[in-house]
């Protein structure tokens, strides 16, 4: 197993290099640069000063050289300094990523619980009215653009009924400690979590449903019934476990999503997450930040892929990685 993981890691190096090249090209070839983005319209700033700054930031070097410098530093563990935040990229990411993480992690848990429940019952009651209602609800939930759903919820629950706060992550001016702080954050999380869960629940529920329907037809489920086991034992112990196998990949692929932040939702709910920061960094051409972070997510995605296969091997005794 260890050997398998090491091999997969080694194999992923070309992919990471490829990703880094594409990331680098995508961002550097995008029109404009940090100087133009920041000072393009500053009528006081002279062209000379702009060129000086480009020189200082190394933006006027040829692309291959810039790439070599960037990657060279990254290999040494240095992701560079964010132009916008004037501090190391890793610090910036570290500051914001965990805020995104708690949001996404909560959504992940809710989404999987709900999808499992919905999927199981739909699978057992395939084509019943219940199944169709659930299907319809799921489709409705996933059929609005995220910003619209977010604003709608904000308007209903924060502006009209004032059940939830108007965004942000904690109450300002009321210092909460310990449990009170956690409760405060949870209260602030409610709306973004609902938004993201509604949007993401659709796909997963369908997968769950399909997977369960597939498994429930298998011979070993019939065997389990033939053994006279209770229905819930058959469903949870025999069917669900197997239905989850193909979903492991899905789960592992969602892991990078835990760290990448939900750009639009964070923006609408003024959530201090990494998504908002990246969006800003893209628009401001904060190359070290946006390239470093994108590379980080890419690596996570690739690791997620490996993790998916490893988990698969752990969960499914038929798959043994050597």
């Amino acid at each position: 197993m260890t050997q398998y993981i090491i091999r997969r890691l080694i194999e992923s190096i070309p992919t990471i290099i490829g990703a880094s090249i594409i990331i680098f090209l995508v961002f550097t070839m995008a029109p404009g640069d940090f100087i133009s983005a920041q000072f393009g319209m500053d009528s006081k700033m002279t062209q000379e000063k702009k060129e000086e700054l480009r020189e200082l930031y190394g933006l006027n070097k040829p692309l291959p050289e810039r790439y070599a410098i960037w990657m060279g530093e990254i290999v040494k563990g240095n992701f560079g300094e964010s132009y916008l935040y004037k501090k190391p990229v890793t610090d910036v990411i570290n500051t914001f990523v965990w805020n995104s993480f708690i949001l996404s992690a909560t959504v992940l848990v809710l989404q999987w619980m709900a999808a499992a429940l919905v999927g199981i019952v739909a699978a057992i009651k395939q084509y019943t009215l219940y199944d169709q209602l659930v299907t319809l609800f799921v489709f409705l939930a996933m059929s609005l653009p995220s910003f619209f759903l977010g604003l709608l919820l904000l308007k209903l629950f924060a502006v009209d009924y004032r059940i939830f706060p108007l965004g942000g992550m904690s109450s300002t001016g009321i210092p909460h400690e310990g449990w009170a702080y956690i409760k405060d954050v949870m209260w602030h999380m409610a709306l973004p979590v609902i938004t993201l869960t509604m949007l993401s629940i659709g796909g997963l529920t369908r997968y769950f449903r399909t997977s369960m329907l597939e498994v429930i037809r298998q011979d070993y489920v019939r065997t389990a019934y033939a053994k006279g086991l209770k229905d819930h034992v058959v469903i949870f112990k025999h069917a669900l476990r197997n239905a989850l196998l193909p979903l492991i990949t899905l789960f592992a692929l969602e892991l990078p999503g835990l760290f990448s932040g939900a750009i639009i939702t964070e923006r609408i709910f003024n959530w201090p997450g990494i998504g908002k920061v990246t969006l800003d960094a893209i628009f401001q051409r904060d190359y070290p930040l946006v390239m470093g972070f994108t590379l980080f997510i890419s690596v996570l995605t690739i690791l997620g892929n490996i993790l998916a296969d490893v988990l698969y091997g752990v969960a499914d005794p038929r798959v043994r990685h050597r």
């Binding site: 070309p14 992919t15 490829g18 990703a19 594409i22 990331i23 995508v26 961002f27 070839m29 995008a30 029109p31 404009g32 169709q132 299907t135 319809l136 489709f139 409705l140 996933m142 059929s143 609005l144 653009p145 995220s146 910003f147 619209f148 604003l151 709608l152 904000l154 308007k155 502006v159 659709g202 369908r206 399909t210 329907l213 429930i216 037809r217 489920v221 019939r222 019934y225 990448s260 750009i263 639009i264 990246t278 969006l279 893209i282 628009f283 946006v290 994108t294 997510i297 890419s298 690596v299 995605t301 690739i302 892929n305």
Partner: protein
Amino acid sequence: MTVQPEALKSSGQNSKMRSKKVDSPWRSAFRRLLKNKFAITAFIVLIFMFLFSFVGPYFSPYKDAKISVRDQYKPPSAEHWLGTDQLGRDVVLRLMEAGQISLLVGLAATGIIVLIGVTVGLLAGFYGGWIDTILMRFADIMYAIPTLPLLITFGAILSDLKFPPDQRIYLIMFVIGVISWMGLSRLVRSQILSLKEQEFMLATEALGLSDRRKIFSHLLPNVVPIIIVSGTLGVAGAILLESSLSFLGLGVIPPTPSWGQMLSSANNMIDFAKRPWLWIPPGVAILITVVSINVIGDGLRDALDPKMKR
């Protein structure tokens, strides 16, 4: 725990064989689809949305993009059924024109996704070896890079290419397509790999058929169902993605409307509170279109994949 009487697998019977009608897998899928009232309803709704968007404007008393700033923000009335917007334009007409764009974006983006995704998946799955490695690694890389940054910068890069501004909408479709083909290509590839294991593919080799024939006559028709299903769902995804792009200011250019653009231009609490006619119509239009497409996609999945059915 489905137990089927075995011979059901072969519904062929002498008496039946003599009947004249050709029962192609497509036709039987279509028959199954027709039985799905859910999907049929969705289909009718979708047709309605198409008619509304493409034929509707001919029945509108208002002219395209007629601006009358002093008539801004009129609530619904007999004159303007859904009121007017910020520039005094008739919302009904805007809704129709926006529908054209949104539906077109969905269809065209999906077309590109299908084109790239299927080509890559087919080639990778069929030839295997280093072609497979390179293509799939590339897909991995594309997959690993977050979508939104790609979209933003792709859009910016492409807008540098002196693209006629009026046709920038096609650029958006193209970009959406270019960054979303990976899922489909993986799907197609895995399908091809499993088809290659089937004896009929072994047979094509034994018969000495050319690669072209193997791909186009044998593999492609068998992946068409998943292409149709994922394509259908892709249309819905593209419509939603376009609206999110509009929210970020990367979608269509005013005065060209899209439903997403209409929605996002009413994205403040005041419009939400005071001028529901600005956001409810495009919101509902997106909602029912996307739901319809998803329901149809779901229905197609059931119809085209009889394994999922009883």
